[in-house]
């Protein structure tokens, strides 16, 4: 025992060395990398800020490239970003339009990749990521007007996004419930678009968002998507399913949804609009002036959103808050999305009754074997843009 104690003194010295060694073996590689790379990034950021300053003073003198040039340059560098997972079709259509291969980088759900220039042409929703890039509130990147955007609607590759859907079987068995739900939801959307500030507050109360300011920004942007169609015309009948825009979406979907399963791919190529939407429920709902559709077959329903609770879905939260669902005899439970069980799966297996998804995702799901039915198209134009830093794409 005494020997061991004597040894300990020696050991204590050795311990320190070993500690450093172990840590080096653990963290050494990564910290080395950090050191090397920090130098690089330091350089780039310093040039960035310089470029930013000059851009501020001389934007009028130096011209930004055309959209085509921007897309070509970014694609050739392999720095076009999208989240994938069914959100990429519009970007692929745009890349094809300019003769580029349809590969893209997987973009995280933050804009760090755009910020550090690993993605120079990044996907953004006008109401969400674009706001985070431009604005200066908590969690945002404060680029204000030093960024430009490429709008999918202007490029003619727009696909319709947020809708309301359920299974065909559910709609057939519960027509009153479906009409009542559409009626109350549209009432909520109408109120939300007329009072975006109030809607933002309501959503902020229900959700757990970064900031009230971001919700307000989002509400004002979402209002534009709900009230304007892909050609820029004003829409008065909220939630209507515009034939031309839906056909365009279906056509693009058929081109860019790549399915490995031959059976599903065959089914996709044969899909028609009648396989994915039914306008009768929305028409029935809007025809009503008092919201009386007879007793709902199912009074307690749930709707799963496509994403986290935010002003993107303000119509439903407003309808909930203002009691519009109660008025039509429905008890509605809003389930937020963004989880691994996607809204199409949840609706298809009956976990929830209604869902909000992008039309393209619904088309893909039906090709895969689901029988889902769009009953209303809430967003009338695409909210997807590609955002870039102006000074990266100067002539």
């Amino acid at each position: 025992m005494k020997d061991m104690r004597r040894c300990k003194a020696k050991k204590m010295v050795a311990i320190l060395m070993v500690a450093t060694l172990t840590m080096a073996s653990l963290a050494g590689c990564s910290s080395n990398k950090k050191e090397i790379t920090s130098n690089q990034t330091q350089e780039t950021t310093s040039t960035d800020t310089k470029a930013g300053e000059t851009a501020d003073t001389s934007t009028e003198v130096r011209a930004v490239m055309s959209n085509e040039e921007i897309v070509k340059l970014a694609a050739s560098e392999g720095k076009v970003g999208n989240w994938g997972l069914g959100n990429e079709y519009e970007i692929q259509a745009l890349l094809t339009k300019y003769g580029q291969p349809i590969t893209y980088l997987s973009q995280a759900f933050d804009m760090d990749g755009f910020d550090d220039d690993s993605i120079t042409l990044a996907s953004a929703m006008t109401y969400n990521e674009l706001g985070l890039v431009k604005n200066s509130y908590d969690g945002a990147y404060n680029y204000s007007d030093t960024v430009g955007t490429i709008d999918m609607n202007d490029e003619g590759v727009a696909m319709l996004e947020d809708n309301i859907f359920c299974t065909r079987a559910f709609a057939e068995q519960n027509p009153n419930t479906v009409k009542a739900f559409i009626y109350a939801s549209m009432k909520g959307w109408k109120y939300a678009c007329e009072n975006p500030e109030e809607a933002a507050e309501i959503v902020y109360k229900y959700g757990s968002s970064v900031s009230a300011e971001h919700q307000l920004y989002m509400a004002s942007e979402v209002k534009k998507l709900v009230e304007t169609d892909i050609n820029g015309n004003t829409v008065t009948e909220l939630g209507k399913m515009d034939e031309a825009a839906m056909s365009q979406t279906l056509e693009l979907a058929k081109k860019y949804i790549a399915l490995d399963d031959k059976a599903a791919a065959d089914k996709l190529s044969k899909l028609t609009l009648d396989d994915v939407r039914d306008t009768s429920y929305w028409e029935g709902a809007t025809a009503s002036t008092d919201g009386k559709f007879g007793t709902p077959e199912k009074a307690s329903v749930t709707i799963q959103l496509k994403w986290l609770p935010q002003a993107q879905f303000m119509g439903y939260y407003v309808a909930l808050e203002k009691g519009y669902y109660d008025e039509v005899g429905l008890e509605v439970n809003v389930v937020s999305g963004g989880g691994d069980i996607s809204e199409t799966t949840a609706v298809s297996n009956g976990t929830v009754d209604f869902g909000v998804t992008w039309l393209a995702n619904l088309i893909a799901a039906n090709s895969g074997g689901m029988d889902l039915l769009e009953i209303s198209q809430v967003y009338q134009r695409s909210g997807l843009v590609l955002v870039y830093k102006l000074d990266t794409f100067m002539k």
């Binding site: 311990i15 070993v18 172990t22 073996s25 399915l259 490995d260 074997g369 689901m370």
Partner: protein, 276 residues
């Protein structure tokens, strides 16, 4: 004395000649049975699911046949990440266990810290690693690879270090006393007693480590910048509701796991036989 003990241990572990024969036939028989139930949709009735959520084996088989080159490309990416991560992670893990044995007081504390890495969810680890490795290379495929390997590595370190530490310290009864009575030096105790004693524990760790390295590789692919790998395909297809294709990749993921496990078992057989 020590050598004889080891022999008994090994002899116990791998019994007579029939055993290897049985250990092939039995699982295969069960597998065939499950496949039969699955293909005839009896399994679907038992589980209360449908052929859409759980596609038939024949359908999966057809999709594999149709997309073999693409699948192999994804398999390569995933296997590379899993194997490299597991190898580096296990090596570091064992090294930590050795250090913890040589310096028991300080090492044990460090070991608990390392084991704590196991408690960090991969879903949190993967995006962090992606962020940290942003500047490793301007090539997205390279830096994604590094990020994924790091995730697998960290997960493997924890498993290996805990098990190896046990193997290095959980010595046969009285063997340490015996070594002391020989006045054996620490170094001798280490190489003649601790090191050989830890070998079966290494394999225990790897048995856990192989499946978890594949899973970690798959989960880290969800968050990687560069789009490739079996995991990414699973996620893409589940999200766009292509269950047949998703299950194809799930089946492929299982195959990767099984093959890696079989290779591990082969190694174990060879290594432990040499010890006789």
């Amino acid at each position: 004395m020590i050598k004889r003990k080891k022999n008994i241990f090994i002899r116990f572990f791998r019994n007579p000649k029939v055993q290897p024969f049985l250990s092939v036939i039995l699982p295969v028989a069960l597998g065939v049975l499950v496949f039969a139930l699955w293909q005839t949709q009896i399994l679907h009735k038992i589980l209360g699911t449908d052929t859409f959520t759980l596609p038939l084996p024949s359908q999966i088989n057809r999709i594999i046949g149709d997309n073999l080159p693409k699948i192999m490309l994804n398999v390569k990416a995933t296997v590379l990440v899993a194997v490299i991560g597991l190898a580096i992670g296990s090596f570091i893990g064992y090294l930590i266990a050795v250090l913890a044995t040589v310096f028991p007081r300080w090492g044990a504390g460090g070991l608990s810290i390392v084991a704590a890495f196991n408690a960090i969810p991969i879903v949190a680890l993967a995006p962090v690693m992606t962020n940290w490795t942003k500047d490793v290379s301007s090539d997205a495929s390279v830096r994604s690879m590094v990020a994924k390997v790091l995730v697998v590595m960290i997960v493997s370190i924890a498993t290996m270090s805990v098990n190896a530490y046990r193997g290095l310290n959980n010595l046969p009864e009285f063997s340490l006393d015996l070594m002391k009575s020989y006045a054996a030096k620490k170094r001798v105790v280490f190489f003649k007693l601790r090191l050989p004693n830890s070998v079966p524990y290494i394999f225990t760790a790897l048995r856990v480590g192989v499946p978890s390295s594949v899973i970690s590789a798959i989960v880290s692919e969800y968050f990687a910048e560069y789009i490739t790998g079996v995991g990414r395909q699973i996620r893409e297809n589940i999200v766009i509701a292509q269950y047949a294709t998703a299950w194809t990749y799930i089946a492929v993921a299982c195959l990767i796991g099984i093959s890696m496990y079989c290779i591990l078992m082969m190694f174990e057989g060879i290594l432990l036989r040499n010890r006789k």
